[in-house]
Symmetry: C2
Subunit: 352 residues, 2 copies
């Protein structure tokens, strides 16, 4: 038996219900800007060991919760666990970025991709979720997550990070049928993966479409959003996940807020290039909005952080349905004290 949730601000805001103050969490809140994270990682040896050892993943997930009065924890993991489980051979080295030993480039490669048995192939993730839920002891809700099918496809095809996604885009344009086959397989895995996280105890879900913004508007709808839509539809049609709020975040997706909201997602992540008041006018009657401070503001002095947080809070206004966050992951070089200033300012400004 898990204890009742003591802080439900995030879940209420995702349903656009009134809250006592605006919930806040930070993308990559468990990460390199925290000295205790760097120590844990040094003990683990490498990033993947952190992800694959439930006790360590639990420890680093909880680190920012212990330090700051955040309103949510997010599973410490990586979006590339799925292709790794499919046999692509992931390695993650600082400075180099992710690498796959066996990238997926031909129709034969795509055909050979195995169907995953999440509870077996990714049990380290569901085990971590269960452990974190226990350790959180109802303090705040736990967010589970996955990468979007298109974002995973870019890494799977390129074999790592890419500047212009030349290989992945060549498949999109030259052989769209193969691209769709690959995306369907990945979508099935992502859907199962998110369901498994919810079944293990994740109380909200998020899909990170880091590279959707690299696509043309037409290609985005066909190759990225259509598959996120399938994921949302599958989760909403499933008895065990239909009430778990799901947030979609496409970095660089400001042009497409309406069609993203049309998927039926509960929350919509905004990067910092979007005006949150304009976003609210466009889709605020249908979804909660998460965001959207420029992560680079945290390089500035504490009083400037306060000023910018306050500006965004004022810009959003008093409507329900705001989850404060950065517009992208926190930079590793940020002083943790600035995060404390951010969190306190969000709570103070919204409880006036």
């Amino acid at each position: 038996m898990l204890p009742a949730l003591k802080n439900d601000r995030l879940l209420r805001a995702l349903k656009r219900q009134p809250v006592d103050c605006t919930p806040v969490w930070i993308m990559r809140q468990a990460g390199r800007y925290l000295p205790e994270y760097r120590a844990a990682r040094a003990r683990a040896g490498d990033f993947l060991t952190l992800c694959k050892t439930p006790e360590l993943a639990c420890e680093v997930t909880l680190q920012p919760i212990r330090r700051f009065p955040l309103d949510a924890a997010i599973l410490f993991s990586d979006i590339l666990t799925i292709p790794d489980a499919m046999g692509l051979g992931l390695s993650l080295n600082e400075g180099v970025g992710p690498k796959f030993a066996n990238p997926v480039r031909t129709p034969a490669d795509i055909a050979a991709l195995p169907e995953l048995d999440i509870d077996k192939d990714l049990s380290y993730v569901t085990d971590a979720v269960k452990l974190i839920r226990r350790e959180l002891n109802g303090e705040v809700p736990l967010i589970g997550f996955a990468g979007s099918p298109w974002t995973l496809m870019t890494y799977m095809v390129e074999g790592g990070s890419s500047k212009d996604f030349s290989r992945a885009k060549s498949i999109l344009y030259d052989d769209p049928a193969s691209a769709h086959t690959l995306l369907q397989k990945v979508t099935a895995a992502v859907t199962g993966y998110l369901k498994a996280q919810a079944d293990a105890g994740a109380q909200a879900l998020m899909v990170f479409d880091t590279w959707g913004g690299s696509l043309s508007s037409a290609a985005y709808q066909e190759f990225s959003l259509a598959y996120m839509q399938k994921i949302v539809a599958a989760l909403k049609a499933d008895f065990t996940t239909k009430d778990i709020p799901i947030t979609l975040f496409t970095k660089g997706g400001g042009n497409w807020l309406e069609t993203i909201a049309d998927t039926g997602c509960d929350g919509l992540g905004l990067d910092w290039t979007v005006s949150i008041s304009e976003a609210w006018q466009r889709v605020g009657d249908r979804v909660a909005l998460q965001g959207n401070m420029d992560p680079s503001v945290l390089y500035a002095s504490a009083d400037k952080v306060v000023a910018e947080v306050s500006r965004i809070m004022r810009e959003f206004g008093n409507s329900p349905g705001h989850i404060f966050n950065l517009g992208h992951g926190i930079h590793p070089g940020i002083d943790p004290e600035k995060v404390g200033v951010l969190v306190d300012t969000v709570h103070k400004e919204s409880s006036r």
Copy 2:
């Protein structure tokens, strides 16, 4: 006496007047994807020598015009000539990116920036413009260009390329007065530089705001667009430049098309993340639209290039005011034959 212009499609389209077929040019059309460019650069020794030697800049400017039936030439140069002329000590090395020996980081650095005498400090650029106009012999118009003040500021402060613009953004947020002082100085130089190019013979002008899309919506308006607005206003108020069409291009600026059009610019550059039909609905009554094919489409086979060019042409429709282009510079690895296919398809599709 310069010969009369034989192909005025670009200039007509920029004024949203009817054309016999849609004009097309390619950002970075004089560049590394062309073997004749690579040969010229090898002879010159380095990129900056190409820029700073009018005969060589003229030669590479004309290379794509000789190879393809393009509707415009664009001055071969670099956006960083202005900070170089201000004494920052530019070096450009392939693979490393631009570097400044003397970046601008303190209020004292900003105060010490000299006012430029364009005709003296950047005479190699105006000499190149004059020479290119002569050599073009009226075949197609010549586009002059500059980087936007904010984009130049990022390089000047960071000392080169940057992933998150931490130093430049720290100045924006911590010391906005100093940021404005720097931007005002750069704006004066950019304005004079564009005027000098027009006086030397450039028949259209363009401002590249490569990094405007890295800013929050509020910061974009204050620190990037406001200065491009000043440039447009100054050129439109000047007797010698008031009729020279000017195009503003903010990569990642799809959220801000209305305010960009409000500057009074003639053309608006679109990256490939924007739907060109939606852009037309938003601002097509006020500005010509330039763009917007994903440069990565050129990695695909010729028939797929035809298909995507045709799709964008259909999406724009039959209204006046389209200048076909990529949504960003052409990638160095592209097969030049694909550019030929692109240009021919634009002309064929639009003259039906």
